[in-house]
């Protein structure tokens, strides 16, 4: 069977690419610390020697639109073009091309449907920064095949938090039972407290540092029970109007498992939002 080599959960900050590649005179003061933290975080994936990456993210109204909005969608294509004009414009993100892993896509689609998740699929998916940001931070060579999984954290009505956790559990089971000798890493990105297009946006730190502190603790300690007890679709409006992206972290907690303490956890308090980085090694810390 396949080996789940690493489970990685992260925020996806679209300004990292620009901050880390800007010429010295345009480099923001926090860039050096940010790059150092990302470099250390990247090592946690490198050590896992993954062959294929399952990438969990959320389309930001790029390809998926309100006339036909899936709740959970799995890409099944040989290639994925990536990043969009408005992401180039606003964040300076580069156009990218990633290889797909259709066999694993098929396995997740078939198995997910059989487990009771009515997964949508796409045979031609242009992915956005929710997936390319972690490629840029964790695997800038962009040389590993991927299976993109999109969740709807953006356009109500949304699935409830518990459903994200359950899908995470299902993804874990499906990788553990995939008849393959490959090493799989699951990488998912979401948000801690975040406000976009509202009165609390672009403050000196995330809009709700207390939520962030609790959320980091839930994730690092694998406390799914506590997170589910405190987080609802309604409650997530309080820390910031884009905080439903935290449900992607909850999905990743589901992949890691109840009570699974992260083998690596780090944070960086930035303007606008807190960065957070977590890695689990479900089958042992690689040598």
């Amino acid at each position: 069977m396949a080996t789940l080599a690493a489970v990685i959960a992260s925020t996806h900050h679209p300004f990292y690419y620009k901050a880390s590649t800007a010429p010295p005179e345009e480099r923001p003061p926090f860039a050096d610390e940010w790059v150092a933290k990302i470099t250390a975080f990247r090592e946690t994936l490198t050590r896992a020697r993954a062959d294929v990456l399952v990438m969990v993210g959320s389309d930001h109204f790029h390809q998926l639109w309100l006339d036909n909005m899936p709740q959970f969608l799995v890409g099944k294509a040989p290639f994925y073009d990536a990043n969009w004009y408005n992401e180039e414009r606003e964040f300076g993100l580069p156009r990218m091309l990633l290889r797909g892993h259709e066999e694993l896509s098929s396995h997740i689609l078939r198995g997910g449907l059989d487990e009771g998740f009515d997964l949508a699929f796409s045979n031609e998916l242009r992915i956005d920064h929710s997936i390319t940001c972690p490629i840029i931070t964790l695997r800038p060579e962009a040389d590993l095949p991927i299976v993109p999984i999109y969740t709807n954290i953006f356009a109500p009505p949304l699935p409830r938090p518990g459903r994200f956790v359950e899908l995470g559990h299902a993804i874990r089971r499906l990788i553990d039972t995939w008849p393959s000798d490959l090493r799989v890493a699951v990488i998912g990105t979401g948000h801690l407290s975040l406000e976009l297009g509202g009165p609390r946006q672009f403050g000196p730190h995330g809009p709700d540092p207390e939520f962030d502190r609790k959320a980091v603790e839930w994730i690092a300690s694998g406390d799914i029970e506590r997170a589910l007890a405190e987080v609802t679709l309604d409650s997530l409006w309080t820390p910031g109007n884009a905080t439903h992206g935290f449900m992607d972290f909850m999905l990743m907690m589901g992949v890691a498992g109840e009570g699974a303490k992260a083998d690596y956890a780090d944070t960086l308090d930035l303007f606008h939002t807190m960065e957070a980085y977590f890695t689990w090694y479900p089958n042992g810390v690689p040598a």
């Binding site: 109204f61 790029h62 004009y85 356009a155 297009g197 009165p199 946006q201 409006w237 109007n241």
Partner: protein, 120 residues
């Protein structure tokens, strides 16, 4: 009252560099043109088929032609779509980094939770 149609306007303009500039420079003309040509297109569907029933009401039309992002927030337009497009149009007019985004937030400061419903 159609939050969906407001979002459709913001979505289709934001993804088209020419339309971004056109909406910045000539909002009345652009909104009128868009409502008469694009509003009833079924996106990602071939051109021979279209909807027949989508139109702005006066308040929505006025919010769009006035570049009034505060009103769009109040009407429940998706805040991510509004923010992204308005950054593209107006960030360039400010000298300091994030100055437009901070002013945008400040102009919404009279809103408290719960914010206007964005469900479509």
């Amino acid at each position: 009252m159609s939050k969906y149609l407001l979002n459709k306007f913001l979505f289709t303009v934001d993804r088209d560099p020419d339309l971004v500039e056109r909406y910045r420079a000539a909002p009345h003309e652009t909104v009128a043109w868009w409502e008469s040509t694009i509003a009833n297109e079924i996106l990602n569907c071939h051109g021979g088929e279209a909807s027949t029933w989508l139109a702005f009401d006066d308040v929505e039309r006025e919010a769009l032609t006035g570049h009034d992002y505060v009103k769009l927030f109040e009407l429940g337009a998706h805040p991510f779509l509004t923010l992204t497009l308005f950054i593209a149009m107006f960030e360039r007019d400010y000298d300091e980094p994030l100055a437009f985004q901070k002013e945008y937030g400040a102009r919404l400061s009279h809103f408290s939770l719960p914010y206007p419903d964005i469900a479509t």
